[in-house]
């Protein structure tokens, strides 16, 4: 995280919620240990990171990782799946530093927060870090479209993307807007991939994890991923990590240490694998 290295090293020894820091006053990690739970905010309807299956069970990479983080702190994970607001800044206000206006309270930690340094500076009420993966956008095609051609050649093809996402903006707005009328809009990247797999679209664009997850276990052999690069894409990818409130730097440091350990001992890869997602390591401090 953005905290200084000294406190981080001091807390490397403080895994499993054991407090070794010299300060005598109660700190967030002490309070958590007393409560016995770690409250964790995850995005709702965000397959494969966090979503509810047909039985209403909350699952996903962020849920499994959150559970593992809580366990490593000697705590029980308690999840809130929340509706995304208009920006991640809003989400951090609702779920981390202020809490929702109605009911519930702020979570101890929020999963899947971009760790972009410029973004961190805009949200100084939070500590953001402990990047655990990198994401970027990817494209997949059904039998009706050649996935490797320059995108303008998809004129006339049916394109699918999440409403108001970079894939939507890129498909609708790039190349002089020649493809704009062909884009069908879906409420999530997973839904855009489902439309492709069901044959309602020829091309879908979503995040790499969403594409890989939808195609996992050879679930859709008729769908191919684009191998070539995506031209003129505004985002080269982004690291995702964790956010805690700015008064909880000790918790941030403890979580960062656990993530480092999980990356080194293969725990992260093992958490990602069942979802068909190959974890891209974060580039770090991007």
């Amino acid at each position: 995280m953005t905290g200084d290295g000294c406190s981080r090293r001091a807390l490397l020894a403080g895994l499993a919620g054991v407090v070794l820091a010299p300060a005598a006053r109660a700190r967030p990690v002490d309070r958590l240990a007393a409560a016995g739970t770690l409250s964790i905010a995850v995005y709702r309807d965000f397959e494969p990171w966090s979503w509810r299956d047909a039985t209403g069970t909350l699952k996903g990479i962020d849920v499994d990782l959150g559970t593992a983080l809580a366990t490593a702190l000697g705590l029980k994970a308690q999840f809130t799946d929340f509706l995304a607001d208009e920006s991640v800044e809003d989400d951090l206000r609702n779920m981390v530093w202020r809490g929702p206006l109605i009911g519930g309270s702020a979570a101890d930690v929020m999963m899947h927060v971009p760790t972009d340094r410029r973004f961190q500076l805009q949200v100084d009420r939070c500590v953001i870090g402990a990047a655990y993966a990198r994401e970027r956008f990817a494209i997949a095609c059904g039998p009706g479209a050649d996935c490797e051609v320059p995108p303008p050649q998809w004129a006339g093809k049916r394109l699918a993307a999440e409403l108001d996402s970079i894939p939507d903006i890129w498909l609708s707005g790039s190349f002089g807007g020649v493809l704009s009328g062909q884009v069908s809009h879906h409420m999530s990247g997973a839904a855009a991939m489902a439309a492709l797999i069901d044959g309602q679209a020829d091309v879908a664009m979503a995040s790499k994890a969403q594409v890989e997850h939808a195609l996992a276990n050879n679930a859709a052999p008729h769908v191919k991923r684009r191998v070539g690069p995506i031209p003129a894409l505004p985002s080269p990818g982004w690291d995702v990590g964790l956010a805690v409130k700015d008064d909880s730097r000790d918790l941030a440091d403890a979580l960062e240490a656990i993530i480092e350990r999980f990356a080194g001992d293969g725990t992260l890869d093992r958490i990602f694998a069942p979802y068909g997602v190959s974890r891209m390591p974060p580039l770090g401090n991007g």
Binding site: L101, I102, V113
Partner: protein
């Protein structure tokens, strides 16, 4: 309802509020329709369905208003002291007010004693856009009806506060909410929808006031099917006439502020919100019927006419502002008109029988996005003032300074039309916005091409301006400047008075003809509610809600400086002249 019955009912009320038989029956459709002309009660949001917010009462007037004193104040209590944007309803010796966090209170209109209180049990995870406000209730018969933040419509027994019916309007878990005051027209509760900027489609609906059953539904975006008594009732507009591809399916146009009704034309007027997605370059076309006023048949939900104040809205102005019916002569010709002070900074006058454009004049000092409107009622855009297309090359776009800001020349707070002075009194704000494309922003945990913006006051000493506007000329007769943004509604009276509240906490009274400030009283917290007046036991009363909140406290920067020392509250204040 027979006319004789209606006359008997109002006569009984005029004689004595303590007629128990009638009181139990409660206001009829005819009484509600006659609210504008019945000084002894306030039965509608707008003090009459036309929304003029004018009372002919003149016992309190420009000559004696300086003696106005509190009769009582009644606290909404609890920890739930956020923005109080409600307009009181007054009937049968009771004042009904809605409070923040979807509460409804009944207070004795003579003593301020609380008679009952209803607290909606709100689930976790509601996402109100701006604050946990509610703008008011509707009364009919034995019921008092209001909407809740979890998008329910609740009918309570007005004597006891017990639930008669409770209907789900939309899924709060998908981001829908409800904050407007419903209206009741001939036995139908009519209301709009709000919340859920992402993927929402605006609609207007009517329910049976007795049962809460849905009667009709009318989507506001072209391509969507309406319904009447469970059957299809025609598509709104013409599919894809002003939208590309499937964008109409999630086109926006929420009717989050509710509407007004005009008995002369038997039309409901509903304003619609901004189109979605935000960036206009991604949705070529006019994007009907976003940022428009719709005239709707209250019996069937069919759209009779529309007028779009901001075609292809690229500034998030939206067009929800109230459309107020009034009659005046234009060029010597008597006309049935309506007026709307739009977020986009223009004051519109339309022929309310057919929606034809009459005039549009700026009611704020600076409008940068358009130079005016042509004879057909189309804006004459300033193309370089439209916020830019998202930069797909990852660079920061050029910054545009646009005025008004997206908080609007006027936001939600309702204006008033005085039948005495024949002027509109418009609570406006003088602010603009720097807006630019962010190279990369983040949304739902992923990279995103968003816009950055900073709202800036136009002047160092004030943001809010209350203006008196002659609707036949668009000329501004007077203005009152206020340091903080104005965020409360306006009332005008036959006593040559105009009342409005300020975030600084004052309820103020102005000379309706000259704008001279005649009286003020500090209510202890910001006033963002809408005042009302009525007569009771031979005396004229004025009431307003006090309690700072709403959207203004969300914005930082220069705007925050004008409101940083305002504290929260939650109280009904009632005033009268000393005996």
């Amino acid at each position: 309802m027979k006319i004789s019955h209606m006359l008997a009912a109002s006569a009984a009320l005029a004689i004595a509020a303590a007629a128990p038989a009638f009181a139990q029956a409660g206001p009829t459709d005819a009484q509600i329709m006659n609210d504008e002309a019945s000084p002894g009660d306030v039965l509608t949001y707008g003090m009459g369905h036309r929304g003029q917010r004018f009372s002919a009462l003149d016992k309190i007037n420009a000559g004696n208003v300086k003696g106005l004193v509190p009769a009582f104040a009644a606290s909404l209590g609890g920890e739930k002291q956020r923005g109080q944007e409600s307009q009181p309803i007054v009937y049968d010796g009771v004042i009904y007010v809605t409070g923040s966090y979807s509460r409804l209170f009944a207070f004795d209109a003579r003593t301020g004693a609380e008679l009952w209180q209803y607290d909606a049990r709100l689930p976790d995870g509601i996402m109100p856009c701006c604050d946990v406000v509610n703008r008011g209730a509707a009364i009919h018969g034995d019921k008092i009806i209001f909407g809740t933040l979890d998008a329910h419509l609740v009918a309570l027994n007005r004597k006891t506060g017990k639930v008669i019916w409770n209907k789900t309007l939309a899924d709060y878990a998908a981001g829908y909410s409800f904050t407007a005051a419903p209206m009741i027209v001939n036995g139908k509760v009519i209301y709009g929808n709000s919340g859920g900027e992402f993927g929402i489609v605006g609609k207007v609906e009517a329910r049976d006031v007795e049962t809460g059953e849905l009667l009709w539904s009318r989507p506001t975006i072209e391509g969507h099917m309406g319904s009447l008594k469970g059957a299809d009732n025609g598509v709104t507009g013409k599919t894809n006439a002003s939208w590309q591809g499937d964008q109409w399916k999630n086109g926006g146009g929420a009717t989050w502020l509710g509407g007004t009704y005009d008995p002369d034309t038997n039309l409901i007027f509903m304003g619609t919100g901004n189109p979605s997605p935000w960036n206009s370059h991604l949705r070529p076309g006019d994007n009907l019927y976003t940022s428009s006023t719709l005239a709707i048949d209250p019996d069937t939900g069919v759209i009779k006419w529309h007028y779009q104040t901001t075609p292809h809205d690229g500034w998030d102005f939206d067009g929800v502002n109230e459309f107020i019916s009034f009659d005046a002569s234009i060029g010597g010709k008597p006309m049935k008109l309506g007026a709307k002070a739009d977020r986009n900074g223009f004051f519109f006058v339309l022929d309310r029988t057919n929606g034809k454009f009459v005039s549009a004049t700026p009611f704020v000092s600076k409008v940068t996005w358009a130079t005016g409107y042509d004879k057909k009622g189309r804006p004459i855009y300033v193309p370089e003032n439209r916020p830019g297309a998202p930069n797909t090359d990852g660079s920061k776009g050029t910054s545009v300074f646009a005025a008004p800001s997206f908080l609007g020349g006027k936001n939600w707070m309702p204006m008033s039309y005085s039948q005495q002075t024949q002027m509109f009194y418009v609570p406006s704000n003088e602010w603009g916005m720097d807006i630019w494309n962010e190279p990369i922003a983040y949304k739902k945990g992923a990279a995103y091409l968003g816009a950055g913006f900073t709202i800036k006051p136009l002047y160092p000493d004030h943001i809010g301006v209350l203006r008196a506007i002659d609707p036949t000329t668009g000329k501004i007769a007077w203005e009152y400047k206020n340091k903080a943004p104005l965020w409360g509604g306006v009332l005008s009276t036959g006593g040559n008075l105009v009342f409005t509240g300020t975030p600084e906490g004052f309820l103020k009274a102005f000379d309706a003809k000259t704008g001279a400030e005649l009286w003020k009283f500090n209510t202890g917290s910001g006033v963002v509610g809408t005042p009302v007046t009525w007569e009771q036991d031979g005396e004229q009363y004025v009431a307003v809600m006090s309690g700072w909140g709403g959207a203004v406290p969300l914005w930082g920067g220069e705007v925050a400086k004008s409101v940083q020392n305002i504290n929260q509250g939650g109280a009904l204040w009632v005033f009268k002249l000393p005996k």
